[in-house]
């Protein structure tokens, strides 16, 4: 009997190259399993990839619909990442002192060809304020704050406040007329904080004998600005809050927020 040999047709070069690459030790050390083209690997990819692991493996169909979530939470998060990245680049150029702040910003425009980092950072920040509002709007309209998601709504409200504060503290940094006067108008209100602002109702009650405890140089506004007007102290304070403290806090809260979305049963839907 004659031997019949079947000859496999040769795969195209690209396919072979791909197969070869995905079998190297380097590749397999990074990606622990094959591409998510079958159900088993669709599970594995969610469980083993650190960037994807915040997702569930499967979720309700309405939850992936743009119609339902408007993707506003996701976009807010993405904008936050963009802002972190562009902000980091801006920090290479910017020094928060009366001497340099303004000229560094002007220099950024004049010396960096095609530079749009400042624009991306500023417009991204405006956009994030808007997307966070719209996210809250959609969460309200779908009633998603109702049990069991009450707590996550509260985390959200705090993040909303932090988003505004991040934007507010960043507004001062260019140190131009627009910046200091916007912050002056904004922070003047703190002067009238009840009990704690020197022009606030009840401030005069905060006295030990005839020693006034609350006056212009130690009230709520002073704590915010590090001075009695928007000056060097305010610039440094706002810089540190803007670049370190607030992003850390909001990042931490985002982690809790996403965790809770999962633990509260995933994106909301009718029972």
């Amino acid at each position: 009997m004659a031997d019949t040999k079947t000859i496999e047709p040769k795969a195209p070069a690209l396919v072979r190259a791909w197969d070869w690459i995905t079998e190297t030790q380097i590749w397999t050390s990074i990606f622990r399993h094959a591409a998510p083209i079958n159900d088993r690997n669709r599970v594995l990819v969610m469980l083993s990839n650190v960037f994807l692991h915040m997702h569930p493996v499967r979720l309700r169909k309405s939850g992936v619909r743009l119609r339902y979530t408007w993707c506003m939470g996701g976009i807010s998060f993405f904008l936050f990442l963009v802002l972190t990245f562009t902000g980091l680049l801006l920090m290479f150029y910017y020094r928060p002192t009366l001497e340099y702040a303004y000229s560094d910003i002007v220099g950024l425009r004049e010396h960096v060809p095609l530079g749009i980092m400042r624009e991306m950072h500023r417009w991204g920040a405006h956009a994030m304020v808007i997307t966070v509002w719209l996210h809250m709007f959609r969460v309200f309209m779908t009633g998603s704050y109702k049990p069991p998601r009450e707590f996550n709504w509260n985390i959200g409200v705090i993040m909303l406040v932090l988003t505004l504060l991040l934007s507010f503290t960043g507004y001062l940094l260019p140190w131009d007329q627009l910046a200091i006067w916007a912050i002056t108008v904004g922070s003047n209100m703190a002067r009238a904080t009840p009990f704690l602002g020197h022009e606030g109702p009840g401030a005069s009650l905060m006295a030990l004998g005839d020693v006034q405890l609350v006056h212009a140089a130690d009230d709520a506004r002073f704590a915010l600005l590090g001075g009695t007007f928007v000056g060097e102290g305010a610039l440094l304070r706002f810089y540190v809050l803007h670049c370190v403290a607030l992003p850390l806090v909001i990042g931490f809260l985002m982690a809790i927020h996403f965790w809770r979305v999962r633990k509260d049963g995933g994106i909301s839907g009718p029972l």
Partner: protein, 359 residues
């Protein structure tokens, strides 16, 4: 003709008419939601806004104010807000129609699970790409503003807070900084945080609906769209030097004079009512305002529990009821103060400058 139209729009943008218009719009949206949520209305609104702003760009004064770099996002906000108000109402009306026909909400039909990869991951990827492209195009097209170096001695007129706080700055027209800048904003935050705990309605969780949550949605839209957002638009586009009002097609004239003839309640009562001088002691002088304020925040909720809102009192229980009503009345204090200002030129209900305490 064109000038006439501009003049007409300027007239309409006056704070009183502007506010009245947004309130009427909200009432109509909620009441006539079936019609409002039609495709025709959606397109109509978007086209109207586009035409309005395109027309506005041809006017030098209007152009100046909406092309100010930091104001551009607010033009975007107007479009997005109108769109999403329409869009969410539309889905609510759709679901309500289904409910009327005995069907579950559309989200219920989409209960089946899909794989995160590819269904969600790809959507996310595409949104990220779209966002990046939009942001880059926006950044190339519009330079970030930088003005003269900071100068503490040179106050610009008007001095405006960043745009997202302009609703609060607008409140300064009606309230003192302590209330407008500290107390009321804190109440907004507290109020938002309280929502999930005071809203006992178990329905409408996880799907769009209006009929099952009429009151909640109406109050929220009133707070978010009418008070918060439209006051931002007002503060950004329609307030000029000295925080005077200017129509969108009006030139920002620093010398525009607005007669300030506002009168305190105490003066109304003692001087104009009783025809005598203001009493010397602040407590006697302000007694009527103080009583009125106490009546508003403390007595009114109790009366409402007896009559008017009894249904809610029974449904919510005393604690939730009082928290809700007091928060709601605080929110209403702004429109109330606006109306009394416009109708009677009322400045302060309680005015005790001795303690920096004015309401």
């Amino acid at each position: 003709m064109l000038e006439g139209l501009k003049g007409f729009i300027d007239l309409f943008a006056d704070p009183q008419l502007f506010f009245a218009t947004t309130v009427v719009a909200l009432v109509l949206i909620v009441w006539k939601r079936e019609a409002f949520s039609s495709t025709r209305w959606g397109w109509g609104l978007m086209i109207f806004l586009t035409v309005f702003f395109a027309f506005g760009l041809t006017d030098s004064d209007f152009n100046l104010i909406i092309t100010k770099p930091d104001n551009v996002p607010i033009v975007g906000l107007i479009f997005l807000l109108v769109f999403f108000t329409w869009f969410s109402m539309r889905q609510a009306v759709d679901n309500d129609r289904r409910a009327a026909g005995g069907q579950p909400p559309i989200e219920k039909d989409e209960e089946d699970r899909v794989w995160t990869w590819p269904d969600l991951v790809y959507t996310e990827l595409i949104s990220m790409v779209v966002c990046t492209v939009v942001l880059i195009v926006w950044s190339i097209g519009l330079e970030a503003p930088i003005e003269q170096p900071a100068n503490n001695a040179n106050t610009p007129n008007p001095s405006k807070a960043p745009w997202y706080f302009l609703g609060l700055q607008e409140m300064l027209v009606y309230f003192d900084p302590g209330l407008a800048g500290v107390v009321l904003p804190s109440l907004i935050i507290v109020g938002l945080m309280a929502i999930p705990y005071i809203d006992k309605n178990p329905k409408g969780n996880g799907y769009y609906t209006f009929n099952e949550r009429r009151v909640e949605i109406t109050i929220f839209l009133f707070g978010f769209v009418v008070l918060w957002s439209s006051l931002i638009v007002l503060g950004t586009f329609l307030r000029g030097p000295n925080w005077n009002f200017f129509g969108p097609f009006e030139y920002w004239d620093i010398h525009k004079l607005e007669a300030l003839t506002n009168v305190d309640l105490s003066e109304y009562v003692w001087v104009r009512g009783f025809g005598m001088a203001l009493p010397d002691h602040w407590f006697v002088r302000e007694i009527f305002g103080i009583l009125l304020t106490i009546g508003y925040v403390a007595v009114l909720p109790v009366l409402l529990a007896r009559k008017g809102l009894t249904k809610y009192y029974e449904k919510l229980g005393p604690t939730r009821y009082y928290v809700t009503v007091i928060l709601f009345l605080s929110m209403l204090s702004l429109p109330v103060k606006m109306l009394t200002r416009w109708a009677f030129n009322l400045k302060y209900v309680v005015a005790i400058p001795e303690f920096f305490f004015n309401i």
